[in-house]
C-alpha cells in the first residue's frame, strides 16, 4: 500500500508549511523571550518588594500562559502540516534529529507546567516567605526550560542550512551555524518579547481611564521597551557572525542572500531594523523632552542623534543589486546601486545605528532615575498617547522583522532547491504531490 498522492501543486504545500512555521515561530519566540524577561522582573519584585514589579511580573506571566497555550496548538498544527505536506522530508529529518526533537518536546512540557504553576499560583504565593521563593523558582524554571528547548530546536534549524559534516551526531549538533543561530535567537527573542510587551502596555495605557493605571502602564511600557531596544542593538553583531559562518559553510546560500536573487529580502530586514531603531529613538526623544530642562544637553543631543539614525537607516536599507528587487527592477535599467554597497557604506551605516542607538538607550535608562521621573508625572496628554502608539507601531515592525528573518533563512535553502542543504531537495518531495516514486 503506497502513500496516496496529494494531487495538488507543490506550491500549496509550501505555502501551508510556511504559514504554519511562521505563526509557530512568532509565538515560540515570544514564549522564550517573555519567560526570560518575566523571570528577571519576578526576581526584581522579590528583591525590591515593589508592587509595580510584582504587577508587571503578573502581566508577563499571563502573556506567557496565553502564548504557551497558543504555541501548543500551533505546534500541533505545524507537526500535522509537515506530516501531511512534506512526509518524506519530515521523517528523514526526524530520524537524524530524533533526540533533539524529543528533548525539545519534553522541555517545552516543563516550560508549560512551570509557567502555569507560576501564573495560577500567584495568589497562593503572596502569603508567606517560603511560598514566594518557590513561586520565583517556578518563573525561573519556566525560563530555563524555554531557553534549553530553543537550543534543541536550533540544532535542527541550523543543521538544515549547514549540515556539515553529516556522518557524526555531535558534528551535526554542533554544526557551523548552531551557536550563532542560538545566540541570534536569544537576543531576537528578547527584542521581540520586549517590544511586544511594551506594545501591550501601550494598548492598556490607551484604554486606561485612571491616572494610577496610566502611570503603571507608562512605566511598564518603558521598562519592556528598554529590554527590547537594548537587545536590538546587539543583534547586528551576532548577525554578522552568523552570516560569516553561513558564508564559509554554504557559500551558495550566502551569495543568494547577500548578492543573489533573494538579496532584496536582506534589504527588507535592514529596512525594518533601521525603522525600529528610528522609531525607538523617536520614542526616547519624546520621553526625554517631556522630562528634561529646556536648555539641557539631552535636548541638544537627541535631535542630532535622530538625524544621524535616519541617514544611517536609509543607507543600510539601500539595495545593492537593483535587478533583484521585485518592483525596482522594472523602474530602472541600472543593475547596481553603488551607494548600497556593503563595504564600506553599510558597515558605517550599521555602526552608526548601533552607536547612536546605544547613546539614546543609555540616556533613556538614566531617565528612570530620580523622584520626578517621567513615568510618574507624564507629559502632555496628547504627547503621552502618541508615545504609546509608537510602542505599538514598533511591535508591528518587529513582528514583520521576525517573519522576514525566518523567511530569509528558509529561502536561503529553498531558492537553491534544498530542504536540507546538500542533503535533501524539494524535488525529493515531489512524489508526495504527484504520486510517482521519489528520485
Amino acid at each position: 500500500m503506497g502513500l496516496e498522492a496529494l494531487n495538488m501543486p507543490m506550491m500549496y504545500g509550501r505555502v501551508a508549511i510556511a504559514l504554519a512555521a511562521l505563526s509557530h515561530s512568532l509565538f515560540a519566540t515570544l514564549v522564550v523571550g517573555s519567560a526570560v524577561i518575566g523571570a528577571v522582573v519576578a526576581t526584581l519584585a522579590y528583591v525590591t518588594d515593589q508592587p509595580r514589579y510584582r504587577r508587571l511580573g503578573g502581566m508577563i506571566a499571563f502573556v506567557l500562559v496565553l502564548s504557551t497555550a497558543t504555541i501548543s496548538f500551533l505546534g500541533v498544527s505545524f507537526i500535522f502540516t509537515l506530516n501531511i505536506f512534506w512526509p518524506r522530508f519530515w521523517h528523514k529529518i526526524f530520524r537524524i534529529m530524533f533526540w533533539p526533537f524529543v528533548l525539545e518536546g519534553v522541555l517545552f512540557l516543563g516550560e508549560a507546567v512551570f509557567a502555569y504553576l507560576w501564573y495560577y499560583l500567584w495568589v497562593w504565593s503572596s502569603l508567606a516567605g517560603w511560598r514566594r521563593r518557590v513561586h520565583l523558582a517556578f518563573g525561573w524554571l519556566a525560563a530555563v526550560c524555554a531557553v534549553v528547548a530553543m537550543f534543541f530546536i536550533d540544532i535542527t534549524a541550523s543543521y538544515m542550512l549547514t549540515p556539515h559534516p553529516p556522518d557524526s551526531a555531535w558534528a551535526n549538533i554542533l554544526n557551523p551555524t548552531m551557536i550563532d543561530l542560538d545566540l541570534h535567537r536569544w537576543f531576537g527573542n528578547l527584542t521581540w518579547a520586549g517590544f511586544a510587551l511594551a506594545a501591550l502596555c501601550g494598548a492598556a495605557f490607551l484604554r486606561s481611564q485612571e491616572e494610577e493605571e496610566r502611570r503603571f502602564y507608562r512605566w511598564a511600557g518603558g521598562v519592556c521597551f528598554a529590554v527590547g531596544f537594548g537587545a536590538l542593538l546587539i543583534m547586528p553583531v551576532i548577525g554578522y557572525q552568523y552570516l560569516l559562518h553561513v558564508r564559509y559553510a554554504e557559500p551558495q546560500a550566502f551569495h543568494t542572500l547577500m548578492l543573489g536573487a533573494r538579496s532584496w529580502l536582506f534589504d527588507l530586514v535592514a529596512l525594518l531594523y533601521g525603522l525600529i531603531a528610528v522609531l525607538g529613538s523617536s520614542y526616547i526623544l519624546r520621553i526625554l523632552r517631556s522630562c528634561s530642562e529646556p536648555g539641557s544637553v539631552v535636548r541638544l543631543i537627541m535631535p542630532s542623534s535622530l538625524v544621524v539614525l535616519v541617514v544611517a537607516w536609509v543607507v543600510f536599507a539601500m539595495p545593492y543589486q537593483l535587478q533583484h528587487v521585485p518592483v525596482f527592477s522594472r523602474l530602472t535599467d541600472a543593475a547596481i546601486n553603488p551607494f548600497g554597497k556593503m563595504q564600506p557604506n553599510k558597515y558605517f551605516a550599521i555602526a552608526a545605528l548601533v552607536f547612536f542607538g546605544l547613546l539614546n538607550w543609555i540616556l533613556f535608562l538614566r531617565s528612570f532615575a530620580g523622584h520626578a521621573s517621567w513615568w510618574k508625572t507624564g507629559g502632555a496628554s496628547g504627547q503621552d498617547r502618541a508615545s504609546q502608539k509608537i510602542l505599538i507601531a514598533i511591535a508591528g515592525c518587529v513582528m514583520l522583522t521576525m517573519v522576514s528573518m525566518g523567511w530569509v533563512r528558509e529561502t536561503a535553502r529553498a531558492y537553491n532547491g534544498y530542504l536540507v542543504y546538500g542533503v535533501m531537495t524539494l524535488e525529493d518531495e515531489r512524489a508526495t504531490y504527484e504520486g510517482r516514486p521519489a528520485p
Binding site: 500500500m1 502513500l3 497555550a69 496548538f73 505546534g75 501531511i84 518524506r88 528523514k92 516514486p437 521519489a438
Partner: protein
C-alpha cells in the same frame, strides 16, 4: 550532495533505550489521555453544571473549578500529545506516514475545530464574570460550543485510533474514518470520560473536605455527592456501550478479539474487569456508608461484591460475564434508587467528612483513572503485532528506515505474520 544522501539512507532504525519503542509511546499516550480524558469530561460537565447552577449557585463554582482545571492542564496535555506524535514519527515512521496520508482531510477539520474550541474555552473561562454579567445564556452557549468543538476533535482522533484496529478499505478519508468500530468507540470513550470525571471530582472533593472550614464544607459535600452520582450513573451505562464496542470488534476483527479474551493478552481483560468490579463495589460501599439511615443495607454491598467476583471469574466466558455484569448494573440501579434521598436531602456535613467516606472516594477516583488507562492499553494491545491491523506490522517498522527508501512506499508486501510475532512477541 550524493555523499550525504548515502549517509542518510544507511541510518539505522531508532530503538528507544531501556523501555523499547512501544512502551515509550505508550507512557506518553497514557499521560496524555489521562489529562485529555479529564479535560474533555470537565468541558462537557461545566456548561451543564452552569445551566443547573442558575438555581443552585454552588454548581456555578463547581463549573468554574472544572474549567480552571481544564485550562491549567490544557497545555500540558497538548504538549504530551506533541511528544507522543514526535515519538511516533521517529519510532514508527511507516505507520505515522500512512495515517496522516490517509486522514488528511479529517485532520484539517479537526484542527479547525480545535482552534475554534481554543478561543471558545479561553473566553469561557477568562471572561466568566464579564460575560455572565452581560448574558448568562451567551456564556453557557460558549461553554457548550467549546464542548461540541472538542468532541469533533475527539471523534476524528477516535476515527484514526479505531481505523488502526479495524481498518476500512474505503476510497476516501471519510469512509475510512467511519470504520466499523468508530461509532461504538466514540460513545464508549465519551461515557468513559464522564465516568472518570465524575469519580475524580468526588475524590477531589473528599480530599478537600479534610481541611475545609465553614461554607467550604457544604460546598465540598455537595460536590462529593454530585461527582459520585455522575460517575456511578455513567458507570452503569458503560457496560452497554462496551458491549456494542466489543461486538463491533468481534465482528470486524475476530482474531484481535480472540487474542484479547482468550489469548496472551487475557490478563489485561482480567485487570479491566477487576477494576470495573472494584468501581461498582466501591460505589455500593460508599452509598452504604454515606446513608445515615442505613439504607440501602449491607446486603446490597455484599451482593455487589459477589456479582463483581463472578464477573471477574467469568472473563473467559463472554456470555456468562455479560450476564453477571448486567446483573451488577441492575443491582446498582436499585441501590442508587433506594439511596436517592442522599442526593436531594441536606444531610449533616460531618457525616461525609468521616475518614471512611473520604478514603473510599479517593480510592474510587484512583480506580476510575486506572480503569480508563487500562481500557486504552487494551485497545492498543489488540492490534499487536500490527500497528495498523493487517496493513503495517511492527516488523515492517523495525525492518526499515522506510521513508529513506527510494519511492518511500509503505510496504504492500508484508512478511508472514509469524515473522512479526517472532520478532516482537506478545
Amino acid at each position: 550532495m550524493r555523499r550525504s544522501y548515502i549517509v542518510m539512507q544507511t541510518l539505522p532504525a531508532i530503538e528507544f533505550p531501556l523501555i523499547g519503542n512501544s512502551l515509550a509511546i505508550g507512557l506518553f499516550a497514557l499521560l496524555h489521555i489521562l489529562l485529555a480524558g479529564l479535560g474533555v469530561g470537565f468541558m462537557i460537565l461545566a456548561p451543564l453544571a452552569e445551566s443547573v447552577g442558575e438555581t443552585r449557585p454552588w454548581l456555578l463554582e463547581a463549573a468554574r473549578s472544572m474549567t480552571r482545571f481544564t485550562i491549567v492542564t490544557y497545555t500540558a496535555s497538548l504538549v504530551l500529545a506533541v511528544i507522543m506524535v514526535d515519538l511516533f514519527i521517529g519510532l514508527f515512521p511507516l505507520t505515522n506516514a500512512h495515517l496522516f496520508n490517509r486522514f488528511r482531510y479529517p485532520i484539517f477539520v479537526a484542527m479547525i475545530a480545535f482552534l475554534l474550541q481554543l478561543f471558545a474555552l479561553y473566553s469561557y473561562y477568562h471572561y466568566w464574570e464579564a460575560l455572565r454579567a452581560r448574558s448568562p445564556h451567551i456564556h453557557r452557549m460558549l461553554g457548550f460550543l467549546a464542548a461540541s468543538l472538542i468532541l469533533i476533535w475527539v471523534a476524528v482522533l477516535d476515527g484514526i485510533g479505531s481505523y488502526m484496529l479495524t481498518p476500512a478499505t474505503g476510497d476516501d478519508a471519510w469512509s475510512r474514518l467511519a470504520n466499523p468500530t468508530w461509532a461504538p468507540l466514540v460513545v464508549h470513550r465519551f461515557l468513559g470520560n464522564l465516568v472518570m470525571a465524575g469519580y475524580v471530582v468526588a475524590g477531589y472533593a473528599a480530599w478537600r473536605l479534610s481541611a475545609a472550614r465553614g461554607e467550604d464544607v457544604d460546598y465540598y459535600v455537595r460536590l462529593l455527592k454530585a461527582g459520585l452520582l455522575v460517575g456511578f450513573i455513567m458507570l452503569m451505562i458503560q457496560p452497554l456501550s462496551g458491549l456494542f464496542y466489543a461486538m463491533a470488534v468481534n465482528a470486524s476483527a475476530p482474531e484481535a478479539y480472540r487474542q484479547l479474551t482468550q489469548g496472551p493478552y487475557q490478563p489485561w481483560i482480567y485487570a479491566q474487569f477487576l477494576l470495573i468490579g472494584s468501581l461498582f463495589l466501591g460505589s455500593h460501599l460508599w452509598l452504604q456508608n454515606a446513608l445515615s439511615t442505613g439504607k440501602p443495607g449491607r446486603w446490597s454491598a455484599v451482593a455487589a461484591g459477589l456479582f463483581a467476583l463472578a464477573m471477574v471469574l467469568s472473563v473467559g466466558h463472554p456470555d456468562l460475564r455479560r450476564m453477571w455484569t448486567f446483573a451488577l448494573v441492575a443491582l446498582s440501579a436499585v441501590a442508587l434508587y433506594r439511596s436517592r434521598t442522599l442526593f436531594t436531602d441536606v444531610s449533616p456535613a460531618e457525616w461525609h467528612r468521616r475518614p471512611v467516606i473520604r478514603h473510599l472516594s479517593t480510592a474510587l477516583a484512583v480506580v476510575a483513572v486506572l480503569t480508563y488507562l487500562t481500557m486504552g492499553i487494551i485497545r492498543e494491545t489488540a492490534r499487536r503485532p500490527d500497528t495498523v491491523r493487517n496493513v503495517i506490522s511492527l516488523q515492517d517498522e523495525a525492518r526499515q528506515p522506510a521513508m529513506d527508501r527510494s519511492g518511500a512506499q509503505v510496504d504492500a508486501h508484508r512478511q508472514p505474520r509469524q515473522g512479526s510475532e517472532k520478532l516482537h512477541g506478545p
